[in-house]
């Protein structure tokens, strides 16, 4: 929960609201120790289910009656941020991922395990699952029965990162921070300009020279 007004904190302490939004479970899942990416992904899907149920409850007449009575008006975007701490777009993507058929989720996870066993890096995230599920759906033959012409899809692997550079340029009066990632295959990813990156590198070079002279 983030950026709450006093009146919003009060309504989230209302027992009916707490129950309707399953806030105890939400807090438990959000606090869960991230032991591995696998655990985070599985908890995120569980959270997605609760978030979907919470959104449905929030939009119900009963819930709106309570919110109106207490004087709190939230857009869906505010609901997502204030209750779950997620921006609207990611909030909806997590809910969408949580609704993916269990079999397809299992397929996705199996593929991830296979690729990891081959030494590849995979993204076990909601966006990757949604993409995988969409591809499975598209690849399913028309009128196909179970087991016959069943859709399949690939899981995107993540390129190994060789080097990262993060420069908080705004702290020294620059317009932008700088973020650069160099992958193992030589692919360089950044949204900064060449000049911005060169400045960051120059600062690093200066610092190294000073340290070792």
């Amino acid at each position: 929960m983030s950026n709450l007004l006093a009146i919003e904190t009060a309504i989230l302490n209302n027992p009916i609201v707490k129950q309707g939004l399953q806030l105890a479970e939400v807090n438990k899942l959000r606090k869960a120790v991230v032991v591995s990416e696998k655990k985070t992904f599985s908890d995120t899907l569980k959270l997605g289910v609760i978030m979907g149920q919470g959104l449905e409850w929030f939009k119900s007449e009963d819930s709106q009656a309570i919110f109106n009575e207490e004087g709190v008006t939230w857009t869906t975007e505010e609901f997502a941020m204030k209750v779950f701490g997620y921006g609207k777009s990611f909030f909806h993507r997590v809910i969408k991922a949580s609704k993916v058929n269990e079999e397809i989720v299992e397929k996705f996870l199996t593929k991830c395990d296979e690729l990891e066993a081959q030494g590849k890096s995979v993204q076990r995230g909601v966006d990757a699952l949604i993409k995988f599920a969409k591809a499975v759906e598209e690849n399913t033959t028309e009128g196909g029965e179970e087991g016959e012409g069943e859709g399949d899809a690939e899981v995107e692997t993540r390129e190994e990162t060789l080097l990262t550079l993060a420069f908080k340029g705004k702290l020294v009066g620059q317009e932008n921070n700088v973020s650069v990632r160099l992958n193992l295959n030589g692919d360089c990813k950044s949204t900064n300009t060449k000049a911005e990156i060169e400045l960051a590198i120059a600062m690093l070079q200066n610092a190294i020279l000073n340290k070792f002279n």
């Binding site: 950026n3 007004l5 006093a6 009146i7 919003e8 009060a10 109106n68 009575e69 004087g71 709190v72 008006t73 939230w74 857009t75 975007e77 505010e78 941020m81 921006g87």
Partner: protein, 316 residues
């Protein structure tokens, strides 16, 4: 998500203000009668995200674009009269411009000039200020009795107080019905049909004979330069009650200014859920008050007498 407008106490003007003598005085203490600091204009300076859920038609009729800022066309202010103020509760609040002693009741806490809005993020922020001022508003902390009133002052950008009076009198029957017992008070019973003042130059036989007589101040609803003050509403006893009255005044001003041809019956149908909420879900009580309001409205608009009018408006 950006933060939008924020109501806090982070600047000097929110903690201190000028009184009518132009002295800079603190907002968080009780001053003598008519000596409180001037209010801030809190109806100005909202951002896009504060009104994101409003429909286009609402935005165009209720908001004023002021560069990157958004101002509210409608404003409202409340006077919270109490016989006692809770120990330790007198301090600076985001909601109140100041406190002063009041001759009729004891003490008065007066709000800043607030935006008057439909359900929105911005309105939630206004209600949040009320919520935080609970210890002044709620009777369980700061007591009141029947000497205390709950005056409500409204403004509309571009309209004089008299123009607002003329607009709202077509729909004020419900206000009369809700606060019908307040006609007993000598502080709010004059000019009971909300008619305009007589001009000095008007010949005697053409002058309006104001119902319950005329008083320059103690009217049911008082038109000032550019605001209109309902003096009839009773004392404030809780934050929820203040919120419901805020909502009612919005509906009243919105229909009066933006949809003046709405039949009174339609207006009552639209606000019935709000009236039921004001009576904590008691539909019988709410419907009784709504029924009374028709007699009240007929009296205001047409001067028609009835048992209701004799019993409540003219009885004193």
């Amino acid at each position: 998500m950006t933060n939008g407008i924020t109501y806090n106490l982070d600047t000097e003007e929110k903690n201190y203000g000028r009184n009518r003598y132009n002295d800079l005085i603190p907002r968080g203490v009780v001053h003598s009668y008519h000596n409180k600091p001037e209010p801030l204009m809190l109806h100005k300076g909202a951002k896009k995200m504060d009104v994101a859920n409003l429909k286009s038609a609402q935005k165009s009729s209720l908001l004023i674009m002021n560069g990157n800022d958004i101002d509210s066309r409608f404003t409202i202010g409340f006077e919270v009269e109490k016989t006692n103020l809770s120990r330790g509760a007198v301090r600076v609040y985001e909601l109140f411009c100041g406190f002063e002693r009041d001759g009729s009741c004891g003490y008065e806490a007066v709000t800043h000039v607030l935006p008057l809005l439909p359900a929105s993020t911005w309105r939630t922020k206004v209600f949040d200020m009320m919520h935080k001022a609970n210890k002044i508003i709620d009777d369980s902390y700061s007591r009141s009795d029947n000497r205390c009133g709950g005056h409500i002052t409204m403004g509309v950008e571009g309209m004089s107080g008299d123009e607002i009076r003329e607009a709202v009198r077509k729909f004020s029957g419900i206000v009369y019905a809700l606060f019908r017992y307040r006609f007993k008070s000598g502080y709010c019973r004059y000019n009971a049909r909300l008619e305009k003042a007589n001009e000095w130059s008007t010949p005697y036989d053409e002058r309006i004979q104001h119902e319950n007589g005329w008083h320059n101040k103690y009217q049911v609803g008082l038109a000032k330069d550019n605001t209109f003050e309902f003096r009839l509403p009773s004392k404030f006893e809780s934050v929820k009650q203040m919120m419901r009255r805020y909502e009612l005044m919005f509906e009243l001003l919105n229909v009066s200014v933006n949809k003046p041809n709405t039949p009174y019956k339609t207006f009552m149908k639209n606000i019935r859920p709000l009236i039921v909420s004001m009576y904590e879900g008691d539909e019988v009580k709410a419907d009784k008050v709504i029924a009374l309001s028709y007699d009240m409205q007929d009296f205001i608009t047409n001067g028609r007498d009835s048992d209701t009018i004799r019993k409540f408006v003219r009885a004193h």
